[in-house]
Amino acid sequence: MNPESVLPALLGLAWLLPLASFAIIVLLGRRLGKEGVLASYVATSAILSGFVLSAIAMLVWLGSAPAPEEHHEDESHASSTVDAPLVVRAQDAGEEHAAPVDAEHDDHAAEHGEEDHHAGHHAEPPRSYSGDWYLLGEFGDLRISIGYYVDALTVTMFCMVTFIATCIHFYAVGYMHDELHDVDDHEVTLEDGGHLHRRGRFHRFFQYLSLFCFSMLGIVIAGNIAMVFVFWELVGVCSYFLIGFYFERHSASCAANKAFIVNRVGDFGMIIGLMALWGSLGTFSFGDWTDSEGNQQAGIFSQVRPEENEYQLRTPDGMVRAAASEEVAQIVAETGDLEASETAIAEQIPEWRDGPEHYGYALLVIAGLGIFCGCVGKSAQFPLHVWLPDAMEGPTPVSALVHSATMVAAGVYLVGRFFPVFTPEVLLAIAYIGAITLFIAATIAIVATDIKRVLAYSTVSQLGYMMLALGIGGWVAGMFHLITHAFFKSLLFMGSGSVIHACHTNEMTKMGGLRHKMPWTAYTMLVGCLAIIGAGIPFVIGFSGYYSKDAIIEQALSFTNENPAHRILFLAAAGGAAITAFYMFRLWFMTFAGPPRDERVYEHAHESPKVMYLPLVVLSVFAIGVGWQLPGLPSLAGNTGLLEQARPAGTLANVEGGAWLPELTIPDEHLSHVKEIKIPATLIAFSTALGGVFFAAVFYGWRLLDPEDARRQFFPVHRFLLHKWWFDELYEIIFIRPAHVVARLAAGVDKNAFDRLIDGTATFVRGVSDQVDRSIDRPVVDGLANKLAQWTYSLGLGLRVAQTGSIRQYVMFIVVGTAALFLLVSFFWNPTWAGN
């Protein structure tokens, strides 16, 4: 079993199974069993098989740690065929990862010697397999294809996505069973005052879910950024369908539109990034690839971090040339010969690149920012975060799967995947965006009362954490948090779904004390809450969030130490942790603790069926333990963990600033695990979280203080937060209305300017012809003809007198005429007329 062919096959199959399920459900639909009940079986079995395949792939990956000497063989072998994986980069650090790892992985980075050792290792690119399945188009040297890029991150993401998706499929079977028969939608009021009565759409839900899984896995497996974009859009449209699942509700269809259009705004930036890459690098491929003539071509990563530069970021030649096109044209004009110019340009490139102008650096920044823009849209980062809370209009399993665990995390995933390309400036921008997002979202979550919205803002906030982590160089921290967050956030959402299922309301103000009615839900959700706030016994053990969040805060602290100017980032992370703890426990207390607020709701509440709470239990197990270092298995994060295997080459080093921000330092992530940083960071994180929980307990658990008082006291702030910082209103004013005004203007110009012009021209021409008709045609041409006729007529009238009818007069006329003729002839006769 060689992984370079097995892994793509396994993952590809896992990827395509949901598509098959989608196709089956689309074509058969309601005919799948009674009201399409079998659709859930189809979809669930597809995604379950996908999970099994992914798990096998994970085992293959772990079991295929290549021997050091394999390196070169792989490369030569791979390039011999086109369809097989084109490039295999196997690194020689494998044996260390496969080895049973030291238990105290938290500490092991403390030793400097080992630190250097690792740094040396990671100067090599990570093990990855890439290749193409088929071409979308090829133009000269440019080609766009559907392909794959498999590394540790891919495999991990596959496992995570398929696992959570499987849980959610099961959960959805229970949650959506209402849709198996006719439904009365109480949120839709018809014109006659009644509620909408409609047929159930059970199968359609699973159909969209399958399509979503396919698209999401497509993003993960994508071998090039264009393919990412393709599936990026596809998950967007799935999200659109799923948010708009209850399309009869106006709010749902609006939310779906909003989600899609806001995402498109992000995509707009992403396209610009794609263009910047495409126009200068001429490839979208992550890994290296082989062209049709068998030449090795560098992928994006190799171009940005070439081997000869020790995998450090360098403006690629293509970008330098693209930026220096005027100079290139100058050279061409001077030499006049393309080949000669080529060599001349090649000589000039280093000079251009490193000169004061930093040719091409701007392009690199644009590319980075552009790609990040897409991530901002998809991951609901500031300023495009507005869609995600509205997206909660969708059914809760969707919120759990799409809008917390997977799709929104795709933005973070892409930032992680594209990490090698980001310059320090871009990373700083990412960090700031993440920080702003996490703070804004967390503050809004404090005042939200809709249980799902609280979770939605929490999601936005956590995504901000991830972005922040990535932006300050904590690659593993960010990705790790992505994974752990997926587990506990989907757990929380499903728990909330269970609550909603029981109470038929989203409003927490009508809940309370539900833990007696639905203990499974309550305590699994408590696990989720603890996980998200990063609860744990410091330095000993904790929930999964403990590890990932602490890693982020450590890195933030490390970053702040290096760059005191940017200490706000650390403050945001730490403060955000406190707020997170507060609102999460506010949620839990309001829902499950204390006396019920609404007796009627409480009476009706009941525990959900087994098919719904079993996935909760499974997920809570993972929410607790996914960050643990279990014996016999590699850890997920940490310096030797699974994610570390995927770390992009050359990113594990102190980066001393970019071309534009030379004083900025992105610290080495492993340095954040040293004691000097780890201890304060852990303590800060622990204390802030504890503080948050304490305040929540004071207000909502023990109810020592009335939140109403606080609300009244901070009325303006509350209102500000309740209106979500007025973002929606702001966007309405500065984007949507102007767009409509411009649209109306355009339509108006069409109708009033262009058409007027055309019609005016027509009228003018008709006027002219009328005038011609009236002033020339009728008086002159017609007049002449009429006059002639008139003359003839009057002549006839005159001659009529001669027409006496009397034979005798006629005779006289004849005679007179003849005589007159004679006379005339005799008077005017010219003898020469006779012809002789």
């Binding site: 133009f139 000269g140 014109e191 396209i271 061409v332 055309i758």
Partner: protein
């Protein structure tokens, strides 16, 4: 089958069908429709036959595509047609990767829209006859290689369309038909002027034997002192690219080819249509009956793009080089403007029409991105991508816009209004139809996996190399497109209940309608998932066209190391191109 027979059959089968229809009794409406459908089907099958691999058999009439990597014009049919001392026109037909997909699209869309014509009840016979004549005209334009023949077919197509809109249209049909007619006629006249300008400036004696062979043309047997003019498009291309015959100054300091390019381009761009000469399109679409809208959007608009790629650039490369900014600007303005205008529409069909304006902007833009400049060493790859993307976009738009109009037509047939504010809830009432409609609208929106995506993305990506500002604007259109399409879908298909009149008429889609809509959606998916299905046929010829342009640019703009022209400062120098050829002719004369 010989090319002569096959190509002539494809062009004239509909016309012959129309002739036969003339003998049908007027009352037998169904028989007439069935016969017409059969004629379109036979034509479609004939083009499908052409699509089969030729296996190197040049006489088979089949079209050899990428597998043999044949980029040249194939299946050339050349018969003398009009041959007087002053004019020589040939019955010159041929097909290559540029025209063939469009021919296939034409016959395909004709077949489907004939199927969509089933509920035409008024003057069925006349309708069918005009319909078939229209098809003949369109196919003739795509297949003719003689400029004059091209022009004749161009005008042939105009009249049936005029009547089809003007008789079977909506309430303002006369206005729309006249508007359509005048616009197109103006374009046609501009084209005719350019055609004659080029004809009288041409002289094929200056071509080398290789070029003559490439142009499928022969010199007259006895040598003449007077110039040998030609209408042969291929010969004109060779002349435009390899000689300076069209480069002499004509008017206002601009060369003949500058003016010819402009005139041809304007003529075509009216057909495309681009802002600001697009206003005929919404009116024509709104008034035209559904099947005619399908033809109009699906095929007729493509004639403009086809003309640009076939005539404008290859014949007048220098003008294309100078006017690339104009072409691109027009494309981008159309995209943005069309999208904004679509956003404001209340009429369903009008909205789709404006979306056509926006989408066809991609075509113009993609054709204009002349990336082969000195700044990137005359690397035309981005332009190839743009041109291919534009061609693909034409096909994709042919599928998706025809589909969109058909979708509108289905609703209109039932409720007899198109006011977007009075729809809603169609998803609940007509689920299958709504599903297909959403698919087709998403194809128009450029969703990946559907045909619109490929063309739009390829064009968009190619723009960066030409102009970054335009590229950013281009990219921004994705937002607007999403906005108007989604808003439309929301207003029409989503929501709790249908709000307009005749709600009881909203019956599920009929099998006939399904039979028309399903192939469209299927094609949209196939082309979106496997675009190479189109590129295989198209790319070699398109790439060759671009390569020719790039080679021309390199030859003339790079300043071939001629010492006397090296000191000319403007990069676009006529002298560099003209000097050698003029010297050659001088020598010839002395000899």
């Amino acid at each position: 089958m010989s090319p002569l027979f096959l190509l002539s059959f494809v062009i004239f089968a509909p016309a012959v069908g129309a002739l036969l229809l003339a003998f049908f009794p007027k009352e037998k409406g169904d028989a007439i429709k069935i016969f017409t459908l059969l004629v379109t089907l036979v034509t479609f099958l004939a083009t499908l036959y052409m699509a089969l691999p030729a296996d190197g058999d040049a006489e088979s009439g089949k079209f050899s595509f990428a597998e043999e990597n044949v980029a040249e014009i194939q299946n050339v049919v050349s018969l003398p047609w009009i041959d007087t001392t002053a004019f020589r026109m040939d019955y010159l037909l041929g097909v290559d990767g540029v025209s063939f997909p469009l021919v296939l699209l034409t016959t395909f869309i004709s077949l489907l829209s004939m199927g969509a014509s089933w509920n035409i009840e008024k003057h069925v016979k006349a309708y069918c006859i005009l319909f078939l004549l229209l098809e003949t005209g369109i196919l003739g334009v795509f297949l003719s290689l003689d400029l004059f023949l091209f022009y004749v077919f161009w005008e042939v197509m105009l009249l049936p369309m005029y009547f089809l809109i003007g008789i079977w249209g909506g309430p303002r049909r006369e206005y729309a038909a006249i508007k359509f007619f005048l616009y197109t006629l103006v374009g046609g006249v501009m084209m005719l002027i350019a055609v004659l300008m080029l004809y009288f400036a041409s002289d094929i004696r200056e071509l080398t034997p290789d070029q003559l062979a490439a142009a499928q043309v022969e010199l007259p047997e006895q040598e003449t002192d007077s110039p040998v003019h030609t209408f042969n498009i291929l010969a004109l291309q060779q002349l435009g690219q390899h000689t300076g015959q069209f480069s002499h100054e004509l008017l206002a300091g601009k060369s003949l080819q500058w003016w010819a390019f402009l005139l041809l381009f304007l003529g075509f761009v009216i057909k495309v249509p681009s802002v600001p000469v697009h206003t005929w399109l919404p009116d024509a679409h709104v008034e035209a009956p559904t099947p005619i809208s399908m033809i109009l959007a699906g095929v007729l608009l493509k004639l403009g793009g086809y003309g640009i790629i076939r005539l404008c650039y290859p014949i007048c490369p220098e003008a294309g080089y100078q006017l690339a900014w104009f072409v691109c600007l027009l494309g981008v303005v159309s995209m943005v403007y069309g999208a904004f205008a679509a956003l404001a529409q209340k009429d369903f069909k009008r909205l789709v029409a404006y979306s056509s304006v926006s989408h066809m902007g991609y075509v113009v833009l993609g054709m204009g991105v002349w990336s082969a400049t000195a700044g990137n060493l005359y690397d035309a790859d981005a332009w190839k991508m743009g041109m291919n993307g534009a061609m693909f976009q034409m096909i994709a738009h042919g599928i998706s816009s025809a589909g969109m109009f058909f979708m509108v037509g289905i609703v209109y047939d039932r409720v007899h209004h198109r006011n977007l504010d009075e729809f809603g809830g169609l998803f609940g009432r007509m689920p299958v139809f709504s599903g297909i409609a959403v698919g087709i609208f998403f194809a128009g929106m450029g969703l990946p996996g559907l045909c619109g995506f490929i063309g739009e993305v390829f064009v968009t990506l190619s723009v960066w190399t030409y102009s970054k500002a335009l590229a950013v604007i281009t990219a921004s259109v994705v937002i607007l497109t999403a906005a108007y399409i989604l808003w439309t879908l929301q207003r029409v298909y989503l929501g709790p209940a249908y709000k307009g009149p005749h709600g009881e008429a909203l019956t599920p889609i009929t099998p006939r309608e399904l039979a028309i809509a399903a192939p469209l959606l299927a094609m949209a998916i196939v082309f979106g998932v496997y675009p190479m299905a189109v590129f295989n046929y198209m790319a070699p010829a398109v790439n060759r066209t671009v390569d020719d342009m790039a080679a021309w640019a390199q030859r003339t703009q790079a300043g071939a190391p001629a010492p006397e022209t090296a000191n000319i400062t403007p990069p676009v120098s006529l002298a560099a191109m003209e000097t050698p050829s003029l010297r050659d002719t001088d020598q010839n004369m002395q000899d």
